[in-house]
Amino acid sequence: MILMTNHLVFEVGTALIIVAGAALLAGRLKFSIIPFLILLGMVVGPHAPHFGIIDLRFIESSEIIEFFGRVGVLFLLFYLGLEFSVGKLIRSGRSIVVGGTIYVALNFVLGFIYGWSVGFPIMETFIIAGLLSVSSSAIVAKVLVDLKRTANSETELILGIILFDDIFLAIFLSIMSGLLLGGSTTILGTITSVLISLGYMILFFIIARKGAPLLNKLLNIKSNEIFILVIFASLFFVAGFSEKLHVAEAIGALLLGLVFSETEHRERIEHLVIPFRDFFGAIFFFSFGLSIDPFSLGGAVWLALGAVILTIISNFVAGMISGRKAGLSHKASSNIGLTIVSRGEFSIIVANLGLAGGLMPILKPFTAVYVLILAILGPLLTKESKNIYQVMNRIFRWENKRKPKKHEAEGRS
C-alpha cells in the first residue's frame, strides 16, 4: 500500500513535469497553453511506452489526474461567475446585447443545422450547436493583451460579446444538464428536470441579489486560512450538491461564483482562486487530452474540420454584422470575428456534459480535434487579421474609395 502511494506521487509529479514543460514551451512560443496540454495529454496515456521508472501510461494516477481536472472545471467556472456581473452587462450597452445576440444566434443555429445534417441525433446536435457557440474567454483575453489590441475600438465589443456568450453558456448548460442528467425517459419528467435546473439557477440569482448583505457579514473573516477554507468548502459542497439535483457541478460552481461576485469580498476571493484556477485548469486540459486515444481521432477529423470551417465563417459574418451595427469601420469589424473564433475550455466543458449524459462517444474526439484546431488557428487568424482584411476587402470592396485617396495624400507629403 505504501509502495503504491509512492508511485502515485511520482506519477502525478511526472504528469506535472509534462504540464509545466508544455507551459514553458507555450510561453516561449507566445502561444496559448491549451492546445499544447491537450496534445501532450493525447500523446501519453495508456498506449504510451514506458521507459524504466518513468511511466507515461499514468495507469495508477489516471483517476486522480481526472479528479484534478474536474476540480479545474469547478475553478474555471467559479472564476467565470466571480468575474461576471449583470451590472457590467447592463452598463456595457445596447450594441453589446445586439452583437452578442447576433453572435450566439448565428453560431447556434448554424451549428444545429450542421449537426443535424451530418446525421447526429437531437441531443448530440444540441451539444454540438452549443460547443460551436462558446468562445474561449481565456484565449481571447490573452491574445488581445499579447497582440496589444486592448486599445482598439472593437475590443470592448469583443469582450462584451464574450460576456454575453458566457451567459448563454450558463443557461445552455443548465438546460442541457436538466435534459441529460435528469435521467428521465418521459417528456413530463424531462420538463420537470429542466424546470428544476432553471429554478435552481433563479434561486441563486435571488440569493445573489438579496443575500449580499448577509454574505458580506458572514465572509468578513480576517484570517486568510479560515477564509480559504470557508470559500473552498462552499465551492465543493455547492458543486457536489448541484450534481445531486442533476444540475451539472460546473453550473453549481458558476452560480456560487455569481453569488460571491455581488459581495464586497469578490476581489479577495478572485485573488485567492486565480492560482488554483491556473493550476487545476492546466491539469483539466491535460486530463482531457489523456482521456483521448489518438488512434480514435480518425473518424472525427472530417466532421471536426467541417465544424471548424463553419465556425470561422459564422464568426466572421457575425463579427462583421455586430461591428457595423455598433458603428465600427469594416476593418475593425473584421477583427471581431477573427478574434472570437478561438475555442477552448468551454467547448470541452459542454462536450463533457454530453458525455456525462451518455451521448455518443464520438463527441469526445470530435471536440478534441475541433478545439485543437481552433485553439491554434484562432490566435493565428487574430494575428493575421490585417492581411485577411485586405484580401477580403479586395473581394468585397468595402472601403475601396477611401483607400486610394489616403495613399495619394501620403505620396504627396
Binding site: 468575474e83 457590467k88 470592448e156
Partner: protein, 165 residues
C-alpha cells in the same frame, strides 16, 4: 479634451482620450496593475502607432511627473491662493535677480512692499518657516510671499525675477 472610460471585462479598464490637438491616446489599466499607453495618429484612430507598458510603481512615478507633483512648469509656477485681494504666491529667485545673495532685512521687504515672506524652500528642499531679516536669499530658492495682490506682483517682478526680463 474628451475622456471616455470603458470597462474591459476580464482585462481591466480602458480610458480613451482625445486631446485638443485631436491626438488619440488610450490608457489601459490591467487588473494585475500593469498600464499600457497607446498613441494614435490624428489620421488614423484605428491603428496605434506607438505603445508602451509600465508596471504599477513606474506608472505612479510617471503620473507624479506628469501631474507636476515634483516640478511644475515655469509658466505655471505661480500658484495663487486668492482671498479677495489677499494672495499667497510661490516664486523662484531667478539668477540675476535683485534678491540674489541678499538678506531679507537688507532688501527691506516688509517696509518697501508691505508683504511678508511666509517661508522659503531652499534648493536642497530644506524649508525655512517665517524667515527672519538675516535670512539670505539665493538663486533657485522658492519664496512664499503673502500680501495684497498688486504688491505681491510688484515684489516678484522687481526683486525676484531676472532684471533684464
Amino acid at each position: 479634451m474628451n475622456i471616455r472610460e470603458i470597462e474591459l471585462p476580464g482585462i481591466g479598464k480602458k480610458y480613451e482620450i482625445i486631446t485638443k490637438s485631436t491626438d488619440k491616446v488610450v490608457i489601459i489599466i490591467h487588473d494585475d496593475g500593469r498600464r499600457d499607453i497607446y498613441y494614435f495618429d490624428q489620421e488614423d484612430y484605428e491603428e496605434a502607432i506607438a505603445s508602451t507598458t509600465f508596471d504599477d510603481t513606474e506608472s505612479r512615478q510617471i503620473a507624479a511627473i506628469i501631474g507636476g507633483m515634483t516640478y511644475a512648469p515655469k509658466a505655471l509656477e505661480t500658484i495663487e491662493m486668492a482671498f479677495d485681494d489677499l494672495v499667497i504666491e510661490w516664486s523662484k529667485v531667478e539668477p540675476g535677480a535683485l534678491a540674489v545673495n541678499q538678506t531679507i532685512g537688507n532688501l527691506n521687504i516688509r517696509q518697501s512692499y508691505e508683504v511678508n515672506i511666509v517661508a522659503i524652500i531652499k534648493r536642497n528642499q530644506k524649508k525655512i518657516h517665517t524667515p527672519g531679516p538675516e535670512t539670505l536669499l539665493e538663486v533657485g530658492d522658492t519664496v512664499i510671499v503673502s500680501g495684497q495682490r498688486h504688491q505681491v506682483k510688484t515684489i516678484v517682478k522687481e526683486i525676484l525675477s531676472r532684471r533684464d526680463g
